[in-house]
Symmetry: C2
């Protein structure tokens, strides 16, 4: 790594938000020296007994040992009388580390279970950083007593910082919702999009709420919302071995348990959770390696929502579209080419494109009203909205991405050398 | 465009090959001023009566008007008593040009038909360059008489130059084969350097032979060979609206007509054609925008050949792998991640990776014998061979790609502005 990166120009103004405390959840962070020096690189979260915990994980065929562990533990039955732990380190992803990888997971998870007095099956772990190097588990376990002793409801920001790799800012978001006459609070943090030591923009996100939510409902809601938030962002099309998104609901708000996806309470909670997840996901794009443009791509009139998302991703992952954005070039022809390569149904003679409110193309050709100067002026903005009309149906999706710049190349060609 | 690009460091030594003449095929090139100034930008090829012509084209949903025209014409019956024409311009792709696009195709094709005295249905056209601007057909038709008058068997190099866009060198290849006691000759040229993941950037290739080959055999052979040549290369994962690969066989060599895919003659011809197509496809990678490394990626032990190709493409299209190659960083962890994201069957604990003859990883972890210094030294070569073992079957495929450099960003962030 060629030295510290400066804060992304797209970072939210005002720095890390003042995250509300969530009753039943405490955090701690420490310097374990896994790889980095002079910064906190391990975070521990303690979650009260009786909480519901849900998670979704990378589908990579080479997913890491911690991900395999979490998939197994999240699917197993949990003892309602026992609490949970989440232990995360940065600097080393413990991915592609063979048998050693599982052993390191077990050793650190057991350490956390012992330190917090929770069952081993209630400990979730994640690692983010370089791939293929053995995780120095003993450096982490050596800090567990200190971590357990310093747990505090107000330490979310320190936890968010400890899981950063090439991130240029820590990412947090919160919301409240009225559920059954109670105000429930949702608070979370994430990391990702960085170039970092390892190899990829590993994405980790942890969200906590005091709402009472049945675990199957929380899991299903998380899966659905993940599709329209974290699964709808892309920086460079490279899927990590370690992507993890978890939500823990402690029930301390005292609302009637949300035990169905339907109804006013579920809707209110879902909407607030959606907002927090989307905010965190968009912050990851804003911290995309080398990013100078925050770009939303909305595809309408597609054969289905899934088809719209495929087209949106094809546009958002196109190196030619992303370099045009970097060059502030309103090169809509590259958007046309990206639509074409997506392989989804489109009516070539009804395709339309807008930049913000500017009609660029309609009915399969450049709009008569379009002036290149208008497109060029629009492209100078830091936030770009592209809307595509496919002309074949009612499907709709939005994806978020960033541009592809020299800085991305610098970060990733120099990195690790 | 920010000025002429210097010749790719990966260009074949010795410049354009001395392409053999193909009896029954004549070429001409001219300056039509479609977009570029002071260079030839239109080429015309005349193919003798009785020839077999085959072609494969981009599957893009937004394919250009010329591609739609060619698809229709190649599928229609041809009059064996009549010759053919191929008319290609650079500077404007005539893609996403609505009704105007088809009219421009018809106007230029009719001009070529009249100039050469061939049926309109025997004229194939292609256009490569900027998307979404009306093709100035009259600039092309104004040159057709001059082009027809200057047709010559020896003008293949001028034709290859006229179809270039961001190419830094013209691409040609040739081979001979013994077929039924006669020597047949195959000679062709191609262009392309960006928007390259042919799915049959803009990729155009024209190959000519004096062999006698039945059209259905030529078409089937072309389709099969395209999969292991042009469809096995990628520069930037962006499929063009205009990709076109055509082969014309004049039969002037006097060999017994190849009218089956089986048998010694068909095999000999196929092998020679394969060589020419692969050579041209690899030259496109060697001229990849900003390329400094020529990279072959062989995937073995996959569930099927198709699965192996998907994994190879996932590696070859990974921005993180490609930037690591640019940085001469033996970052095999990024290869592991790319294998994972491909979504194909893999045995995580049997995956292996080699750089050339260097064993990097085996059985799901870094090899005990591997030294980072060896990998780093290997990465300094201009030609890199990566071999991946999936550990699940017998499937195998090789794809060819290049690295992703600052120069790619410069070319594509500045282009058109």
């Amino acid at each position: 790594m060629a030295g510290p990166l400066s804060r992304s120009p797209l970072a939210p103004a005002g720095g890390f938000p003042a995250l509300p405390r969530i009753a039943g959840v405490r955090f701690a962070a420490a310097e374990a020296g896994v790889r980095y020096r002079n910064r906190k690189d391990v975070m521990l979260a303690e979650i009260a007994a009786g909480s519901a915990v849900a998670g979704v994980f990378t589908r990579s065929a080479t997913r890491s040992a911690p991900v395999l562990w979490c998939e197994e533990k999240i699917a197993a039955p949990h003892d309602p009388a026992q609490g949970f732990a989440i232990l995360v380190n940065s600097g080393n992803s413990n991915a592609f580390t063979g048998k050693n990888g599982h052993e390191a997971v077990e050793r650190t998870a057991r350490g956390a279970a012992d330190a917090l007095g929770v069952p081993l099956e209630h400990v979730f772990v994640a690692s983010t950083g370089v791939i293929g190097e053995p995780l120095p588990a003993e450096r982490i376990t050596a800090r567990l007593a200190e971590l357990a002793a310093s747990l505090d409801e107000g330490q979310a920001e320190a936890a968010a910082q400890a899981i950063m790799t090439t991130d240029t800012f820590p990412k947090g978001a919160a919301a409240t919702a009225a559920v059954g006459g109670k105000t429930v609070t949702i608070s979370g943090f994430a990391k990702g999009s960085g170039m970092i030591e390892p190899n990829m923009g590993t994405m980790l996100a942890y969200v906590f709420t005091d709402a009472a939510v049945a675990q199957p409902v929380l899991q299903q809601m998380l899966r659905e919302l993940c599709d329209v938030t974290f699964n709808a962002i892309t920086v460079d099309s490279d899927t990590s071995t370690s992507d993890t998104l978890m939500v823990a609901a402690t029930g301390k708000a005292g609302n009637p348990v949300i035990d169905s996806l339907d109804g006013t309470d579920a809707q209110a909670f879902r909407q607030a959770l959606h907002g927090v997840l989307l905010d965190l996901a968009q912050q990851i794009v804003r911290d995309g390696e080398g990013a100078t443009k925050f770009v939303s791509i909305t595809v309408e009139g597609a054969a289905s929502d899934a088809s719209a998302r495929i087209v949106g991703k094809a546009i958002g992952n196109s190196p030619l579209v992303k370099t045009a954005l970097a060059g502030e070039d309103p090169n809509w022809g590259r958007i046309v080419a990206a639509i074409g390569k997506a392989g989804e149904p489109a009516d070539r003679d009804r395709i339309g494109i807008r930049f913000g409110d500017i009609l660029v193309a309609e009915n399969g050709w450049v709009a008569q009203s379009y002036k290149e100067a208008d497109g060029a002026a629009y492209m100078k903005r830091p936030e770009i909205a592209i809307t595509v009309q496919m002309g074949v149906g009612e499907g709709r999706a939005t994806v978020w991405t960033c541009d592809l710049t020299h800085q991305y190349i610098s970060i990733n060609a120099d990195y690790r050398s």
